[in-house]
């Protein structure tokens, strides 16, 4: 455990085997606040684009373990605005911190940061590419509420074309057995062929437009993100395509769960919040134990 995790980077869910995913989730289940666990350690939080939720979640996890946080939350105020290269910013930051968390609008930026830095780097979102700690907390929520990650019927609903979280989640699910995926999206926002090819032979999947949730164990809903669309008109056509309301939820069994990476706009009606299947707020809380576990694994190789 110590040798394989200490100093490692967390860049893409593709780097994770089933065993490694299970180890992180198991560690997250045991993670608890401990002011001595990472005392004296400093985390650099480099947010070149704002993401309040992710930034606060990482900071909270570090503070609960007794560590300190430095950093910034907008590329506009940093040396990036003065034309510094990402690699130079990373070389500076690695001198100030024991671990770097990076959020950046360009795809591949986190991998470049990891190649450059001698301290561990965690990708907190690189453009439309990857956000692996989100995927780990999604899996943590599924495990927490369903008890297992094999033999599940999972529906992915919404923008499957630009949605980073659904791509990573689908990739992660190929590590498990007996997964049936129902890919529910507007015809103009299907799962990209490259992701479907990864699923081939490993996960049973079906693509459809109809919002039919019957028989699902997990419903994973995503926001149709205006900022990812190259064309405003294309966005206007599909923005209200799916609304999960109480009527749609009648197709769900009592053990089913509804997840959402948040923030939601209108795709889950507020009337759903009080249903027993609504787990998206608890899902978000899982971000703290998952990140506490990762910080300790990367900085110490094990949990205190």
């Amino acid at each position: 455990m110590r040798s394989s995790w200490q100093g490692r980077d967390i860049i893409s869910i593709r780097d994770f085997s089933r065993e490694e995913i299970e180890m992180v989730l198991q560690a997250a289940g045991r993670a608890h606040p401990d002011p001595d666990a990472l005392r004296g350690q400093v985390m650099a939080s480099l947010f070149f684009e704002p993401s309040t939720r992710t930034q606060l979640s990482f900071a909270s996890a570090m503070e609960r373990l007794g560590g300190k946080v430095i950093g910034f939350s907008s590329g506009k105020t940093t040396s990036q605005a003065k034309g510094e290269t990402l690699q130079d910013t990373i070389r500076m930051a690695e001198g100030y911190a024991d671990l770097i968390v990076i959020r950046h609008p360009l795809e591949g930026s986190a991998r470049l940061a990891a190649d450059t830095a001698s301290v561990p780097v965690i990708n907190a979102g690189d453009g439309t590419h990857q956000h692996p700690t989100q995927t780990l907390l999604d899996l943590y929520a599924i495990k927490q509420f369903q008890g297992h990650l094999d033999n599940l019927k999972i529906g992915l609903v919404g923008d499957l074309k630009y949605g980073r979280t659904v791509h990573s989640l689908a990739t992660a699910l190929t590590r498990f057995h007996g997964i049936e995926l129902r890919l529910i999206s507007p015809a103009s926002l299907p799962m990209p062929p490259a992701v479907l090819r990864e699923l081939g032979g490993l996960v049973d999947y079906r693509e459809q437009e109809a919002l039919d949730l019957s028989g699902l164990d997990v419903v994973y809903v995503t926001r149709i993100q205006k900022e990812r669309f190259p064309d405003v008109e294309e966005y206007e056509k599909v923005k209200g395509a799916y609304v999960i309301d109480r009527a749609a939820c009648r197709a769900l069994g009592p053990e089913a769960i509804i997840l959402h990476p948040l923030p939601r706009v209108g795709e889950i009606a507020r009337e759903v919040d009080s249903l027993p299947q609504a787990k998206y707020f608890q899902q978000a809380q899982g971000g703290i134990p998952v990140r506490m576990a990762l910080l300790q694994l990367l900085l110490k190789g094990e949990l205190a």
Partner: protein
């Protein structure tokens, strides 16, 4: 043999043989050969071949290929052979092999990739993902690119 195909021989230079049919023009592009050519270039396309059903051949006089150029050719014509010719005779024969990794050769098709930002000064870096058909994956943004469609840096 009466059926034998006549393709002009060259005195000295390089013959790239067993190129997949249709790829000869791409090979010329990689070699930097355009309209304003100062030495002999012989191109044969879709000619009968024993090993493959058909093949393309490119013969270039007075040009010896460097490592970088061979790598580029290997991406689009991995079964090609490269013969070095001196005084009409083959003096060396190389089978080129598909490189596992390519730095600064394929341009990432993802415009938003960190390797496509001039001011970041990062060379593209691709890893071979599969061989049939040949496909590379960007080390940075993990975009996939098929070798035949790959845009190559000049």
């Amino acid at each position: 043999m009466s059926q034998e195909l006549k393709v002009s021989r060259i005195r000295q230079g390089t013959v790239i043989d067993h190129i997949r049919p249709g790829m000869a023009l791409t090979v010329l592009r990689i070699l930097g050969i355009g309209a304003a050519v100062s030495h002999s270039v012989v191109v044969a396309m879709n000619v009968p071949s024993g090993a493959l059903a058909h093949k393309d051949i490119v013969k270039v006089e007075n040009q010896v290929l460097d490592e970088e150029t061979l790598k580029k050719i290997a991406i689009i014509a991995p079964h090609a052979t490269v013969n070095i010719i001196e005084d009409f005779e083959i003096t060396a024969k190389h089978h080129i092999s598909l490189p596992r990794a390519l730095r600064g050769i394929i341009k990432c098709p993802n415009r938003n990739c960190i390797s496509n930002q001039d001011h970041e000064r990062v060379s593209s870096f691709f890893i071979c993902e599969r061989e049939e058909p040949i496909e590379f994956r960007c080390h940075y943004c993990e975009a996939l690119v098929q070798a035949e469609q790959a845009e190559l840096y000049a």
